[in-house]
Symmetry: C2
Subunit: 349 residues, 2 copies
């Protein structure tokens, strides 16, 4: 591999001068600058970032830790992250933890070894082991770089970009009530997580505020994943006793629910009303619409990066907790139409 010395020799200058040309720093006569640049271009010379990192005691790398590449949420967040990284000329080290706390731990060690400037992190969902969680907290403290949490947080004074799950589900419940539904249920996320509990609480609070009875058997305890939501929905339908309206707690929950619903040829917006948390782009595109609360996934990634760079520049600034706004998109499935009319969801298997 060609080095700065090779360039220097060929251009007939010192390494220092080449460095100055590379970094547009110090004084270089226009003449030598041109001569040096010509040699750089000739070999398409790129200085070693490792060597730079070593002498400058800092890198141009940001770590990105994500639990799952199949979920649109993280992909779109990643889109936002790459946008900002491009602008800032930063490289991203990508880690997929597959929702596995051990991989999360490995990822953080690796990122520490790489001396990343900062980390954007969406925690693995299942941190059942109190000890493992403490371990992650330790690692974050020892990383020597700011960490911004996305979606899921830890009780640490870090920046974070989160979603008002309570407010969103409260609002979803309200909309269902306004649309005339009284018997309302919810497929929850993992309620051992704050983001799961919050959403359930939003539902309970709205029901209370509107003085509607809560039927405990209409609360289906899920885990934010497709399979569990599918199972719960299937049992719900097969029991014969199901609510007039249901709330699904995130995109994967919605998918599991839709699967069970379609399998039984149950018509959304007629036989059962529904509002889901999260927008599912592809379903929307093909015209498979359902009422939902949407949050800005790409924007979440952008915001997280902004917080991160702010923290990198001002390490002692007060931690910020950004709550991303949501929008309500009513597409009709929040109601139950009386007549058997044409809908988007009559899927007679």
């Amino acid at each position: 591999m060609i080095t700065i010395k090779d360039i220097a020799v060929e251009a007939g200058v010192s390494k220092t001068t080449v460095s100055r040309v590379l970094n547009h720093s110090g004084k270089v006569s226009e003449n030598t600058r041109k001569r040096v640049q010509k040699v750089i271009d000739k070999y398409d010379y790129q200085p070693s970032e490792s060597a730079r990192a070593l002498i400058q005691q800092t890198t141009k790398m940001i770590g990105v830790v994500i639990p799952n590449v199949y979920n649109d949420f993280y992909n779109e967040v990643l889109q936002g992250i790459t946008q900002v990284a491009d602008e800032k000329n930063m490289s991203l080290i990508f880690c997929n933890t597959n929702e596995n706390p051990n991989k999360e731990e490995k990822a953080l060690s690796m990122l520490k070894g790489q001396r990343v400037r900062g980390v954007i992190m969406a925690l693995a969902s299942d941190n059942p082991d109190r000890e493992l969680r403490t371990r992650v907290e330790e690692q974050i403290a020892e990383l020597n770089a700011p960490v911004v949490f996305i979606d899921r947080t830890l009780p640490l004074p870090n920046d974070s970009v989160i979603f008002d799950g309570f407010g969103a589900v409260y609002r979803a419940t309200e909309e269902l009530i306004k649309a005339g539904n009284k018997k309302i249920g919810i497929i929850t996320g993992d309620i051992s997580l704050k983001i799961g509990k919050d959403r359930l609480d939003g539902f309970l609070q709205a029901m209370k505020d509107y003085k509607l009875p809560i039927n405990k058997s209409y609360i289906y305890y899920g885990n934010f994943l497709v399979d569990r939501a599918y199972e719960l929905s299937s049992k719900m339908y097969d029991s014969g006793d199901y609510p007039e309206a249901i709330i699904t707690s995130n995109n994967d929950t919605t998918i599991g629910f839709l699967r069970a619903t379609r399998e039984r040829s149950i018509e959304l917006g007629r036989e059962i009303a529904m509002i889901g948390i999260d927008h599912i782009t592809i379903l929307d595109t093909i015209g498979y619409k359902y009422s939902h609360i949407a949050r800005d996934f790409v924007g979440t990634g952008i915001k997280a990066m902004q917080l991160l760079f702010n923290k990198i520049e001002k390490p002692y600034s007060k931690p910020k907790k950004v709550i991303m706004p949501f929008t309500v998109n009513l597409m009709g499935t929040e109601k139950r139409r009386k007549s058997k009319m044409q809908t988007l969801f009559n899927s007679k298997l």
Copy 2:
């Protein structure tokens, strides 16, 4: 940040000894090993990869260049890539080119600066500019690391993992013919790309082999993207003259086609037959099934990494071109049922 020297001092040994403990190399007495390890653990010390890279003249980083994070294909490929990277203890530098050749160029420069060991690359689709393409070829040559192409290739002697688009579409056409369709059309990909041309050719060849007439107006020239496929499908339907059966050239093309089809409440598998290239997981999960040719996305990423590591270990091995197998999944939409029976696709808007 704590360094090897700090560890050495605290453990009362030389840096060399610490290095030996870190790398399980050379001879260290059990006693000192323990003492040193204790200090390492105490500080959760991670050696600087930059410093290592510098002295060892090699990194543990693999570059991943992908044109689009919204497409399931790339996300699942990424899943495969991360799996292998984990096993091999390699880090991934992730670059999203957004189908933009300029970003592609920037990404390759950056990866060169990072001295990556190798690169997995899915080229940006639109390389209209002959000069830009030459530029990318130059950069690949100057990268000093093997590059494995995914899906799209360049006329270079590189390893690649590709898809038998010709065979897949040939097979799709055959299935449509066997199902009784005669007037068959196709929404193509970008036929200025080999992967686009191949798929069209597979269609033409099958039609020819089965001695069916090709109606040129049933060939819809797309670009592998949703919007264009939607436009083309819309015009196709609105013209009143559309084929009995249609082939969509990739997942995004399928999405655009489905959108137009659903908007018009046209029933797939009754009013029009269809086979799509690529499996769309989420549609399948919710029970929105259509006949398709599936390729193994995750496996593509795994295979690419295997080729890459093989090349890293044996730099002068002969370039391999792996053609991923495909499977045919007939779900019913390859036929046109005579009666208005219940199907998965009656979407009466």
